[in-house]
Subunit: 143 residues, 4 copies
Amino acid sequence: MLTINRLNQTEAKTIIDGAVNKANELGVPMCIAVVDESGNLIAFERMDGGKVHSITISQDKAFTAASARKGTHEFNKACIPGHKNNLFGIHTALGGRMCIVGGGLPITFNGSVVGGIGVSSGSPEQDLGCAQAGVDSFSKTYG
Amino acid sequence: MLTINRLNQTEAKTIIDGAVNKANELGVPMCIAVVDESGNLIAFERMDGGKVHSITISQDKAFTAASARKGTHEFNKACIPGHKNNLFGIHTALGGRMCIVGGGLPITFNGSVVGGIGVSSGSPEQDLGCAQAGVDSFSKTYG
Amino acid sequence: MLTINRLNQTEAKTIIDGAVNKANELGVPMCIAVVDESGNLIAFERMDGGKVHSITISQDKAFTAASARKGTHEFNKACIPGHKNNLFGIHTALGGRMCIVGGGLPITFNGSVVGGIGVSSGSPEQDLGCAQAGVDSFSKTYG
Amino acid sequence: MLTINRLNQTEAKTIIDGAVNKANELGVPMCIAVVDESGNLIAFERMDGGKVHSITISQDKAFTAASARKGTHEFNKACIPGHKNNLFGIHTALGGRMCIVGGGLPITFNGSVVGGIGVSSGSPEQDLGCAQAGVDSFSKTYG
């Protein structure tokens, strides 16, 4: 039997709050999704003014980051046509649910991935900034 | 130009809190989704122990209720093979996103639908009870 | 932080072996899927002669049983047009991934669901018999 | 409660008429879609001779432009493999519904996006020209 650590609802809210604070600081209303270590949604908030397409993209970023155990921007840097790494095309997997646009990060606890956060509605750099703020909020409170 | 009223994030949280309180009273951890008047997700919470398939079903119930402007259980009662109402089959529309299982309710303000709530993880009766508690929480606070 | 119990690969193989033995006894080659407690696939075997459509259906049965924490045949008995339980329509949710055909069972350990098994290619009764044999094999070895 | 401005049907027809006039001028029969500010379809016209695949693409362009609040061609310029903006991959999101081919534009009124237009069947440049003609028709009549 495996024993798995998984974010709970209280922790998910702490993560979202951290991202919301950063989004308010940037002045960009965001969609923010938190998933568990299996990629399934725990909590979601569309700030007033968050974009409709970002509802799905934020969830897909969170899923990708939790499942792949790395930031979606890391896939982005490596997903280049003709590159010898043979990675190009990963972005169309799972009907496009694999999201390699920046703004998704895994949430780590005691060295293992326990969930993921995905943020969307700004530029990928802004999205990543808010995702990192969510991670930092978690680390500061529970690290 | 049309002028539309739409739930904001604060109101969505009030609705979710009402449903969570009822779920705790029932002892059934729920997935709870709130959508705007166009059926797009605003807020979502999977209580610790909420079921994975209910992540999607709660959103689909909220979407159906907001878009159809009635409870999903009302569709359920009318969706009967061979019935002269010719409604049977509505449950497979939109790739199954039309959800006629009980537990979805529209949110009404000043006589127009401004959003919807969908609840899933219990029996349809329990789900509907929690959705109603969400509606009541909204009415009590903003009615 | 939540602590979750999840089937490991060795246990999944024990479950599949139990189902395969029963399928051989029945003389019906089956598709057998085992998922974890989040509904994600751990192990799959299509016995020589197993049917192509059953590749998907066995996985959907296992997903449904693990997520809903009950046998798919239990949904089948309750999913009746016009029934006052308001459950009809559950079978088309998630694009039809919710599978209410008999043959899916949850796997339970120490009182919580740790995974699911889904079997397809025979009659629902045969499928359920093989799924039960998988559960029994697990209980006998690890119970 | 949020208050949202949304295109009405009369305005949508004005937008389509502007695009149709331009398409006739170019001699290219087009598919033209107008969506509301949430990305949901309000009006659609396939001119005699408009292409079948463009039925979907025009709608996806309109959805993308309304939701993202910018022209689809702007995404096109920025969606480059290996670019430091980390945006590549946005074009496969939402099962490919995010459309970054030129020909989608938001419709703006009093500084906020109230809808979108998407045009398809010609070259992206021709499509964009017709979309712009639709926008201009709206601005001239209601601006």
